[in-house]
């Protein structure tokens, strides 16, 4: 398991970074934060694209296609809906 040392270190440090960055978000923004961070978890799209791109045989290709679709819905939908919500917050701010 020695080769897991580096990725696990990265994981643990990134978790702490996440706690630090996010713990200060006010309740007003909790929903956009959740949908926005949800879109970021769609980063798995990288894995989906690679898997679909190298897939050989019908089974892997179908799975790859599904993975890309799922991840893309997550990413595109997540960022767009977050933008839509935050637009409602900002609009009023501009009127003042």
């Amino acid at each position: 398991m020695e080769d897991l040392l580096v990725p696990i270190t990265v994981f643990v440090l990134a978790s702490f970074a996440g706690f630090e960055v996010i713990s200060k978000v006010p309740p007003t923004l909790h929903t956009p934060l959740m949908s926005g961070s949800n879109a970021i978890s769609g980063i798995t799209i990288i894995g989906a694209l690679l898997a679909a791109g190298v897939a050989e045989g019908p089974a892997s290709q179908i799975l790859g296609f599904l993975a890309v679709v799922f991840a893309t819905v997550n990413v595109v939908g997540g960022f767009l809906v977050t933008d839509r919500m935050l637009g409602m917050f900002r609009q009023r701010d501009g009127q003042r």
Partner: protein, 456 residues
């Protein structure tokens, strides 16, 4: 593109995610923060598309087109009241994608122990996230009952599923990645995700969604271990942390523990008989009565609850605010952390109705002001204003932080009936001497008050 350059660009993407999330901490910078994160994602996708290992683009392009179209339509069409189920759906798809990535890796052949272990983690977490989120979606969309669904032998059944899931994973790892074992583990995890979320009541959905959000991040991180991608590991860890923070905030706001929410089957009808005292009478008010007491108040604090969201009454509420502000009445809003069906849901609904976010106050901020408030207007909220949580240590919701509306000079409650809320507990607030009950749907009630106010 050289692989090293690609790795640097992935790093740029990850930095954009972190800075973007950081900017989410203020309404002024949040939108640009989200856009930065989106740019980061675009960079990551383009870098991946230029990867030399990719041999064919047909499947990729088809998947991207379908996914982008579906995502864009959902994001544009969704009603703000339905935001919790949309986020649940997106969470589930993200988790499902991570599980699929690991499954494909297993299909690709001979897995060493490391790949086996990480693939198993990705498959299990991702699949539980997928099916758990789909059940949460169905509950929120009211395709299935929001009440806890329980059945005999549930705990034993779940334990067996968990054992089967782990055993299949171990077999997959030990066999060097035989796909059949991976699929067996997937099947166990899929059923477990369903049976684990079904018994959780509608009122606990803010916790469940936050927790599933955290899991979707962990699934992505696990997939990152499988395909050796720092971008996935870092982003997944960030989202896992974000989801966990929100989960703990929600759990604390209900004075529960995460274990109690996930395994408690809390809420719904089984506690309906608690503390019912038929000897008391509530004071019934007409919209005119309410309009008069509001119009002559100096300060009004509105407490919106999920009933407001269900009745789509946020715009009617904003009209009432305008009418009162015109008369010089100070109007503020008190937002309980678990108001609505996901963290911060009520804030989004009020933002949609153009309510100024400076007028929204948290529990701690507003509670000390209730004794100086003329009218507390409770719209479609119940458990979060139930004084039993504060005063009766024997109550099932004892210790849950509540909004102290009963300390205001007058309390007006707009509610369809005296029926208990999601926690299934009677609310003595409704029978207090200074409480007026307006029995109506939130939108109709508010509209009638606004109309009546024009004649005051």
């Amino acid at each position: 593109m050289s692989p090293v350059l690609g790795e640097y660009l992935y790093l740029v993407a990850v930095v954009l995610f972190i800075v973007g999330l950081k900017r989410m901490s203020s309404p002024k910078t949040a939108r640009s923060g989200n856009q930065m994160a989106a740019v980061g994602m675009l960079i990551a996708v383009v870098v991946t598309l230029l990867d030399q290992r990719i041999v064919g683009y047909t499947t990729i392009v088809a998947g991207l087109v379908v996914g982008a179209a579906v995502g864009a339509v959902l994001a544009r069409r969704v009603e703000m009241t339905a935001m919790p189920q949309l986020v649940a759906l997106f969470n589930g798809l993200g988790g499902g994608a991570s599980a699929l990535v690991a499954l494909i890796e297993v299909h690709a052949g001979a897995a060493d122990v490391r790949t086996g272990v990480t693939a198993a983690a990705s498959i299990l977490i991702g699949t539980v996230t997928l099916t758990g989120s789909l059940v949460a979606f169905a509950k929120l969309q009211e395709l299935v009952s929001g009440a806890p669904i329980t059945y005999p032998g549930q705990k034993v059944g779940d334990s067996l599923l968990a054992v089967g899931m782990v055993a299949a994973s171990v077999m997959m790892i030990a066999s060097g990645g035989v796909p059949a074992w991976a699929w067996a583990a997937t099947a166990f995890a899929a059923v477990l995700g369903i049976t684990r979320v079904l018994p959780i009541g509608g009122a606990d959905m803010p916790v469940v969604i936050s927790f599933l959000n955290s899991l979707s991040g962990l699934a992505a991180a696990a997939a990152g271990f499988v395909i050796d991608s720092n971008a996935l590991i870092v982003s997944g860890a960030l989202v896992g942390a974000a989801g966990l923070i929100l989960t703990m905030i929600m759990v604390k706001a209900m004075n529960r523990t995460l274990g109690n929410v996930l395994f408690g089957a809390f809420g719904g009808a089984q506690e309906g008989a608690y503390g019912v005292d038929s000897g008391r009478t509530a004071r019934r008010a007409t919209p005119e009565d309410v309009a008069i007491s509001l119009a002559y108040a100096r300060s009004v604090v509105v407490v919106p609850g999920y009933g407001l969201a269900v009745a789509q009454a946020q715009h009617a509420l904003k009209e009432l605010e305008n009418e009162l502000t015109k008369r010089g009445v100070e109007v503020r809003y008190a937002i309980h952390p678990v108001a609505g069906r996901m963290p911060g849901h009520m804030n989004v609904l009020l933002a949609e109705a153009d309510v100024d976010y400076d007028k929204l106050f948290d529990l701690e901020e507003i509670n000390r002001d209730f004794p100086h408030t003329d009218v507390a207007l409770v719209v479609g909220a119940n458990d979060v204003v139930n004084p039993l949580a504060r005063d009766d240590p024997a109550s099932p919701i004892a210790g849950m932080p509540i909004l102290d509306v009963d300390k205001a000079k007058t309390v007006v409650v707009i509610k369809r009936s005296l029926s208990p809320g999601f926690a299934g507990i009677d609310n003595p607030l409704f029978y207090l001497d200074n409480t007026l009950m307006l029995f109506d749907d939130a939108r109709k009630g508010l509209t009638q008050i606004v109309d009546a106010m024009k004649d005051v």
